[in-house]
């Protein structure tokens, strides 16, 4: 029996029992679409998760803290020697101590308050900073007051006295004005005095006892590319040794201004934290484990990513399980329908055998019927899923958008591969659930089948 005849006869047999076929197909439709929609929710979740990942920092960078820095006395100190030790750990590409401070910058009539990170100038390239204009810091900058600015920094410069806001219209990047100054060319000064560059308030105008703080003349050698990373976007970078010097100046100034606060400041406790760059993602966990055994506190974006992945994974498994149950039920429906069909057609099967149908002809006829049910159910189910998916995305049910976390993201995403897979899957379900009935039909004795009146 040729395949085309098998198909034609199977379709015919299905159409003979329209209602029964329709109901069985309906079962598969519900099963398929529930599984597709559940998976599409998971995919949408993953997509918004990937978007979030994009906005995170470099996953291969570990933030390492000395837990005893602020706590009880401990042997653990982060200094140049310990940094060199860390650099020797297998898989570590580079390491640098980091100190942060907050300064006032001024260029002409414009001022800005900027977070400054002091890092090892030499390591900047290893940490993967990407320059948009100018150059990165290198070893020669260690004796200079040279800076590399994050991409958002130029926008922070505002007319002095203007109302200050750091995150200057982040959300409409296209519409905002160009930076007021050209950071690479214009002359820029920096000071730890927060009043630097501001017009004196009237109440202070008579206060002439205060000596103005001498500002530092700085130079910006590079501007970083927009990487979506909040840890670089809004920071200015300078060599760590220069920043340390300035911090000492600042401490002296503050001591003179406000009096001594902390007697221990003079004591060398090393750095509070450092950054460790790993060679690749795979080495992150082993390195952080090693650092932890050394007594450091380690934080990496990977920890967050991993826990997110875990949550997303188990949620998807749950959704998938719900879908599978309904598809399983529809598989039982197919089997039941096919067994009914065999009882009904016992005689026909017998006749076909007697007039020359081979066992495989009989088997194929019944298997194909089951597959067609699965296939049709799959197609209709996918169409239905696209419909439901569109409704979900447009209506944005509140509890679902909570799950997919993040605004403007689709709640349900059905990629082509999902529809193709589910179609194959539903046909497979038909095939598997049709197998047992088909075997049964095949094994029917033709003689007893004919005798059935």
């Amino acid at each position: 029996m040729s395949s085309i005849d098998v198909i034609l006869i199977s379709i015919r047999n299905l159409f003979k029992h329209k209602l029964r076929t329709f109901l069985t197909v309906l079962g598969v439709v519900v099963g398929t679409s529930s599984i597709v929609i559940m998976i599409s929710l998971g995919i949408a979740m993953n997509e918004s998760f990937a978007k979030q990942l994009d906005e995170m920092g470099d996953l291969t960078v570990l933030q390492v803290y000395n837990p005893s820095f602020w706590g009880e006395k401990n042997d653990l100190v982060i200094n140049n020697a310990s940094i060199n030790d860390i650099k020797k750990i297998k898989g570590v590409k580079s390491a640098t101590a980091v100190i942060e401070d907050y300064f006032k910058f001024k260029s002409g009539r414009y001022t800005a308050q900027i977070n400054v990170k002091g890092i090892d100038a030499e390591s900047m390239e290893d940490f993967g900073y990407v320059i948009a204009d100018g150059r990165l810091l290198d070893k020669n900058d260690e004796n200079e007051l040279n800076f590399v600015f994050g991409c958002e920094i130029p926008y922070n410069f505002e007319k002095s006295g203007a109302r200050y806001y750091l995150y200057n219209s982040i959300n409409n990047t296209e519409e905002r004005e160009a930076p007021k100054i050209d950071v690479l060319k214009d002359k820029i000064q920096m000071s730890y005095d927060m009043n630097f560059g501001e017009k004196k308030l009237s109440s202070e105008s008579n206060d002439n006892t205060k000596k103005p703080v001498k500002p530092y003349n700085i130079k910006v050698v590079g501007l970083l590319q927009d990487t979506n990373d909040y840890n670089t976007k809004y920071y200015a970078f300078m060599p760590i040794n220069q920043l340390e010097k300035i911090k000492k100046d600042k401490a002296r100034f503050e001591k003179a201004e406000y009096g001594s606060r902390d007697k221990n400041t003079s004591k060398d406790k090393g750095y509070e934290s450092l950054l460790v760059k790993c060679v690749d993602i795979d080495s992150v966990s082993s390195i952080s484990e090693e650092l932890r055994t050394m007594g450091y506190e380690v934080y990496s974006e990977m920890d967050y990513v991993n826990s997110m992945k875990e949550i997303a994974g188990s949620l998807q498994a749950l959704l998938g399980a719900i879908g599978s149950v309904s598809l399983f039920i529809s598989a039982i429906g197919i089997t039941n329908t096919m067994i009914m069909a065999i009882y009904e057609r016992t005689r026909e099967i017998g006749i076909m055998k007697v007039i020359g149908a081979t066992l495989s002809d009989i088997k194929r006829l019944f298997l194909l019927e089951a597959v067609i049910i699965g296939f049709m159910g799959g197609i209709i189910g996918i169409v239905l899923s696209y419909g439901v998916s569109m409704i979900l995305n447009n209506v944005q049910l509140s509890f679902l958008s909570m799950m997919s976390s993040g605004e403007g993201n689709d709640i349900s995403v059905i990629p082509i591969w999902l529809s193709v897979c589910s179609l194959i899957f539903s046909s497979m379900v038909g095939l598997i659930s049709g197998y047992f009935p088909a075997r049964r039909a095949m094994k029917l004795s033709s003689l007893s089948a004919i005798k059935t009146e």
């Binding site: 015919r12 003979k16 007697v354 003689l447 004919i450």
Partner: protein, 235 residues
């Protein structure tokens, strides 16, 4: 050279704890192109013999050799192929597929034989014309009378042009007039094509169409009677 050889065929059915011997050591030979009639009362074992020759039942003992092939040794698929090639069936209860038209019912054996659509439909139409159902081609069994259904069934049996036709009480459900028509038709076609026709019946009148009447009683061959055709024609 005989087309069918049956050697010491025995069939024993277990019925509860007892064993019923349906066929008891039967040996027969049948020649090509002749019409045979297995005549006997119900329960004589004639239908069992037919079923066994068609490979629908396995014998307990003995051999059935049709065209040099041992039927009793074949598996289901071999039997299916063998039936496709060599055997046509006419049943008492027609056994047509109710959802299919007359044409489709007749085409079915050719479909299993993988004959191309154009050829098999032409052949089936010719066959339906031959049995006088030219204007019933598109009818389903439910739309036809018993006689017409049996004609379709005869067309189906002959469409393959098999060497052997088995007819199991072919006229059991038909009235006398139709019975005679049907017997004329079936014997005429088989004679034309030099086919061996084996009819199972309990009806003496039908047995008169045969060249050889094999009387079956209690699972044994009672007697074999050669019919003189010319004498019947005179009567």
């Amino acid at each position: 050279m005989s087309i069918i050889q049956i050697k010491s065929l025995t069939k024993i059915y277990p019925v509860g704890n007892e064993k019923v011997t349906a066929l008891d050591n039967i040996s027969l030979e049948m020649e090509k192109g002749k019409i045979y009639c297995l005549l006997g009362t119900s329960g004589s074992g004639k239908s069992t013999l037919l079923n066994m020759m068609a490979g629908l039942e396995k014998p307990t003992k003995g051999q059935i050799i049709i065209k040099n092939s041992h039927i009793e040794k074949m598996n289901e698929n071999q039997l299916a192929r063998f039936r496709q090639k060599n055997i046509g069936f006419v049943f008492q209860s027609y056994n047509l597929l109710p959802a299919f038209t007359a044409l489709e019912n007749v085409t079915l054996p050719l479909i299993f034989k993988k004959i191309p659509k154009r050829i098999r439909e032409k052949r089936a139409k010719e066959m339906l014309c031959a049995v006088g159902l030219k204007d019933r081609i598109k009818h389903t069994p439910a739309q036809m009378s018993g006689g017409q259904q049996q004609r379709v069934s005869i067309a189906r049996a002959f469409v393959n042009n098999p060497d052997i036709i088995f007819a199991d009480e072919p006229t059991g459900n038909l009235d006398t007039k139709t019975t005679l028509e049907m017997m004329d038709l079936i014997t005429k076609i088989s004679k034309e094509n030099n086919q061996t026709l084996i009819i199972v019946t309990h009806d003496l009148e039908i047995s008169e169409y045969a060249d050889v009447i094999i009387h079956i009683r209690d699972g044994k061959v009672d007697s074999i009677e050669q019919v003189n055709k010319k004498m019947i024609e005179k009567i």
